[in-house]
Every structure is written in structure tokens, then in C-alpha cells.
């Protein structure tokens, strides 16, 4: 191998030096980027950690709520039409029990969604405030997921009587199957 001239040696050293500088520049740039990413990740992780802590603190409460819903929300074991009829029967029977004068009643539609399947009935009646209140109390039952979707009271010509128009609804566990007839 021929001996290198001084000029050639200098050029090789310069070239090597430039390569070394470039390599180091790239290395440190990469490390700086990694560090920035680490700082960003740390921030995000801290946020996630706090968020997770917040949720985990509510875990027992959430579990209790879920368990309550699972144990109380009724399951529709019969046809939704039949269930609606039974709901109407309950409402009218109780209305009669509380001496309300039923003016109009009808079956509502079944409305399914991801959380519950809703059946409902509509009822119009008149009666005293006290009787209406008692009837409403007997119908409204959160533990059975039975509630008033619409509820209105109007005064009538008779100052001792009020007119009530309600939509009573009940929420069953979602069946996941749409009842085409009812949902139309």
C-alpha cells in the first residue's frame, strides 16, 4: 500500500472529523428529540394517572350503582305489547282505586335503545289534588323503573278538581332486538 502524502492525511482527518461532527450532531439531536418526547409522555402519563386515580376512587360507587341497576332493572320476559297492556291495566286500576275519572287512555310505542327498552301508556283523568297525588305515588316507582315521561296538571272549571295528563313509562333491560311493530 503506497504511503499517504501529508495533504492526503490531512484531508482524511478533516473528512473523518466532519463525519464525526455530523454523527454527533445527529446523535444529540436524536437524544434531544427523545428527551422532549419523554417530557411530553411524562406530562400525559401524569394526566392519565390523575384521571385513573379519580376514576378508581369512584370504582366502589360505580360497582354499587351497576349492581343496583342489574338487580333492579326489570327484564321484559313477555311480549312488549302485553307488557304495555299490563302497564295500562295497572295505571287504570290504580286510578279507579283512587277514584279518578279516566277520560282517555291509550297504549304507547315501545322505544328500544342501548340502555333500556321503554314501554309507555297515555292516560288522562280528573280528580282532586289529593287523589291525583296518591295515585301518582302509587304508580311512580323508581325501584321498578316505572316513571312519568310526561306529567301535566291543569286547573278545570271545577275548582276542586284538576285534570291530569300523563305518560307512564317503564324501562326494561335492553333486549337488543327491535320490535318492528311497536317501534314503527
Amino acid at each position: 500500500m503506497p504511503q499517504l502524502k501529508n495533504r492526503e492525511k490531512r484531508l482524511i482527518i478533516m473528512f473523518g472529523g466532519i463525519l464525526l461532527l455530523l454523527g454527533n450532531y445527529m446523535l444529540w439531536e436524536k437524544m434531544a428529540m427523545t428527551r422532549s418526547q419523554i417530557i411530553e409522555d411524562r406530562k400525559n402519563l401524569e394526566l392519565h394517572r390523575r384521571e385513573a386515580e379519580m376514576w378508581m376512587k369512584q370504582r366502589d360507587e360505580a360497582t354499587a350503582k351497576r349492581d343496583w341497576i342489574q338487580s333492579h332493572q326489570p327484564t321484559m320476559e313477555i311480549d312488549s305489547g302485553v307488557a304495555t297492556s299490563e302497564l295500562l291495566k295497572l295505571a287504570t286500576d290504580r286510578a279507579k282505586e283512587h277514584e279518578l275519572t279516566i277520560e282517555k287512555n291509550s297504549l304507547g310505542k315501545t322505544i328500544p335503545n342501548s340502555i333500556y327498552d321503554e314501554i309507555s301508556i297515555d292516560l288522562e283523568a280528573t280528580g282532586s289534588m289529593e287523589k291525583i297525588t296518591k295515585w301518582a305515588h302509587s304508580i311512580y316507582s323508581p325501584s321498578e323503573f316505572r316513571l312519568f315521561k310526561h306529567f301535566s296538571l291543569n286547573s278545570t272549571a271545577d275548582p276542586d278538581k284538576l285534570k291530569i295528563k300523563v305518560t307512564v313509562a317503564q324501562w326494561f333491560k335492553p333486549s337488543g332486538v327491535l320490535d318492528n311493530e311497536d317501534s314503527e
Binding site: E61, A62, I69, L147, S152, W171
Partner: protein
């Protein structure tokens, strides 16, 4: 550039190899403790390996050795006075050159100090001024010379004469004559006479030749000097107890440059090392941090299903709000609204709650003040936190009563599609 013995002697222990001229050759010796072994010899210096940085014994012909009486006993002053005497004797012929010499004190009398001073001659060949040598010294420091005798040996084409007083070398010189004949005897006699005059030489009792001498040469010299001559092999060199520092100026410059280069190189290595260490440290830090982040991410990912379950449960609860929130019970709402009525002057004529979340009331009041204060009362009722009641301003009826209506929506009502 004078070097005192005590300074240069410290350097003596460093050299393990010794390059010394003898007869027509260069001999390379290696010291191991107090013993020495000849490992190579060659007439040409360049043929010998100098990798072990040997001490270089300067051929005596390139040294000027003189005995100087210095008129002081103060060792601090001796050095300066030696320098002055050498200057007076014209040893430093070129004022631009740095004088290279060493000296040692031999003895002291009442007011004087006798020094043996050796200086490097300016004719010292440049090709021998190599930085590969650990030090430059003289042969007198490496041999045990016989007591009170002249010791003669040949270095290349010159005879070297060393005189001892007791066991101390008091004179060393390359003789000008190159043959062992009457002229040799005459030169030696002159030197002896001079040294005797200066009270330096002992009563010499003989001459020892470390290099070969023929019977004829021996006879001529013995007859001329009336001194017994004996031949002896040159002894093995010994590590010097004291040594001179006769390093040529060119070598000193090269050594200084090498030292500076070594300093820069060491500094470069140090900085490079620190840089490498910093890079490695930073890289390791990033590696550890990254691993921790990855572990933390894995931990977060692990807890995600549980969190999702919690969120789903709570979302389901919120979605079932009309069931679980008594504030959405129409009778509770109605009771709160009627409880807020004043004893007289205001009545509710219509109450409506629709789609679980929306409440509407309509009423009558004797005057607008009563209507407004009632509206303000329900608006501020703690039963309705976050509710926003809105409605028409009370308006007067034909029968002089005032009508009003208000509506609100539960703050957590789902957005209307």
C-alpha cells in the same frame, strides 16, 4: 543550562536500558535491579532497538570535563560560579546556544569547593540528539573505577582516560592522541602533572586498560610513565548513584514539544472521555426514562379496562337519571313549586313535566310584584341547583290579575337530537 546532581539523580532511576559506546560499537544494556545484561551491540546506532527509551552515554570526545576550584563553600553559589568560570574559559562559544553542562562537588577545603564539571560540546552530532533517549549522561557515572588509578579504554577512534582519587572520579577526558605510543604517554603525563599541581590527582599507582593493549605498547608506556600497567575487562555497568543531565538543547526542545503535545493529547483524551461519558450518561438516562415511561404506559393500559368499566357504570347511572334522581320526580318538583307559593295572591294554573327533564308552570298573581317575587323564589330554590328558569314577564289580564309562565330544563338533560 546547569543541572545539579541532586536534581538529575532523581531521573537516574527511571532508565532501565543503557546505550553506551565501547571500542567500535554501541552496546545496549538492560538493568534488572543492580545487575545489567548486554542485550545487543552494533557499530551502527540505527540498528539497535531504542523502544525502551535507554539512557544515552555520550561518547567522551563530545564532552568537555574540567575540574574547577570554586572559591566558596556555599552550595547555593557554587552553581552560579561554575557557570561564570565556564563562561570565562570560553566553553560557551556561541552565545545563542543554551549551555548544556552538569557538575558535581568532589571535595571542600577551608574556603573552596572542587567541582567536576562536564559540558556538552557543540560538535555533538545532531543525528544522536534523539528524543527516544530518556537521558544523556557520561560513562563515569556507570562504572566502578579502580581506586587511585588511570583507567583507559577506547571509544571508537579515541582513548578515554579517567582518573580516580580514592574511589572518586576526578578527571575524565578523550585523549587527543589516537595511538598507544610515547605521545600517548606524554599527554597522560602532562595531564597528571596539571592535576597534581592543582592538588586534584592522587599519587597514582598505576594504569588499568579496559581495552586491548599490545605488549609493545604496554612496554613503551610503562617505560615512559614509570607506572605499572594492568589489563582488565571492562566491568559490567551499574545503575548510577548520581547522573548528569546533558540533554542537548534540540532534544529538550523536542521533549518540550512532545510534552506539550502529550498535554494537548491528554487534554483531548480527557475532554473526549468526558464527552463520551456525558453522551453515555445522557443516553443511559434516556434509556432508563424511556423504560420507566413504557412501564408506566403498560400500567395505564392495564388499568384502562377497569376504568372503562367504571365509566360505563357511571354513564349508565347518568343515563338512568330519571329513575334515580328524585329531582326529576314530577311530584317532588310540583311540591317544591307549590311550597314556594305565598299564602295568598299567587296560584298555579298549569304544571307540566315533559320528556322527563323539562318543566313548565303557568300561574296567576294579584299583581306583578307577587308574580315576580314568586318567580325569583323558585329560581333561587335549592331544589333547583343549576336550573335556569326562563319565561315571559308577568302580563296583566282583563280581570286585573297577572299571568306568568316559566320553564326550565334539568341541567343534566341529554342534548336534544
Amino acid at each position: 543550562m546547569a543541572n545539579r546532581i541532586n536534581k538529575s539523580s532523581k531521573q537516574a532511576t527511571k532508565a532501565n536500558d543503557l546505550l553506551i559506546p565501547y571500542m567500535d560499537q554501541w552496546e545496549l544494556w538492560r538493568f534488572s535491579g543492580q545487575t545489567a545484561q548486554k542485550i545487543a551491540s552494533h557499530a551502527n546506532l540505527s540498528e539497535l532497538s531504542l523502544v525502551n527509551r535507554p539512557a544515552f552515554v555520550i561518547p567522551q570526545q563530545f564532552l568537555n570535563t574540567v575540574d574547577l576550584w570554586i572559591l566558596t563553600q556555599d552550595q547555593e553559589l557554587v552553581g552560579d560560579m561554575v557557570h561564570l568560570q565556564l563562561e570565562n574559559r570560553g566553553v560557551f562559544s556561541n552565545p545563542d546556544e543554551v549551555p548544556i553542562y552538569s557538575f558535581r562537588s568532589l571535595l571542600q577545603d577551608q574556603s573552596r569547593t572542587l567541582t567536576l564539571t562536564t559540558s556538552l560540546d557543540s560538535s555533538f552530532p545532531e543525528q544522536w540528539a534523539l528524543p527516544e533517549f530518556s537521558k544523556f549522561d557520561t560513562a563515569i557515572n556507570y562504572f566502578p573505577f579502580p581506586k587511585n588509578r588511570w583507567t583507559i579504554w577506547r571509544e571508537f577512534n579515541r582513548y578515554i582516560a579517567v582518573l580516580t582519587n580514592d574511589n572518586q572520579v576526578v578527571y575524565s577526558q578523550a585523549l587527543s592522541v589516537q595511538t598507544l605510543d610515547a605521545d600517548f604517554a606524554t599527554e597522560l603525563r602532562c595531564i597528571t602533572f596539571q592535576l597534581l599541581t592543582d592538588n586534584i590527582a592522587p599519587e597514582t599507582i598505576g594504569i588499568t586498560f579496559w581495552s586491548p593493549i599490545s605488549p609493545h605498547e604496554k612496554l613503551v608506556i610503562e617505560n615512559s610513565l614509570s607506572l605499572p600497567i594492568e589489563e582488565a575487562p571492562r566491568p559490567t555497568p551499574v545503575p548510577p548513584k548520581q547522573s548528569f543531565n546533558l540533554t542537548p538543547a534540540a532534544v529538550r526542545i523536542k521533549q518540550a514539544v512532545s510534552k506539550r503535545f502529550a498535554q494537548y493529547r491528554n487534554l483531548g483524551i480527557l475532554l473526549g472521555g468526558l464527552y463520551l461519558l456525558a453522551t453515555l450518561g445522557f443516553g443511559s438516562y434516556l434509556f432508563v426514562e424511556k423504560r420507566e415511561i413504557d412501564q408506566a404506559k403498560a400500567s395505564v393500559a392495564k388499568s384502562r379496562p377497569i376504568i372503562q368499566e367504571v365509566q360505563q357504570s357511571l354513564n349508565l347511572w347518568d343515563d338512568l337519571q330519571p329513575v334515580v334522581d328524585k329531582n326529576l320526580h314530577p311530584l317532588y318538583v310540583l311540591k317544591t313549586i307549590t311550597d314556594a307559593l305565598p299564602k295568598e295572591g299567587v296560584r298555579i294554573t298549569e304544571f307540566k313535566q315533559s320528556s322527563y327533564y323539562e318543566t313548565f308552570i303557568k300561574g296567576e298573581a294579584k299583581n306583578s310584584g307577587l308574580a315576580s317575587s314568586y318567580i325569583a323564589k323558585i329560581d333561587g330554590d335549592t331544589f333547583f341547583p343549576g336550573y335556569n328558569w326562563t319565561g315571559k314577564q308577568p302580563s296583566q289580564n282583563k280581570n286585573n290579575t297577572w299571568s306568568f309562565s316559566q320553564s326550565t330544563t334539568h341541567p343534566n338533560a341529554p342534548a336534544k337530537e
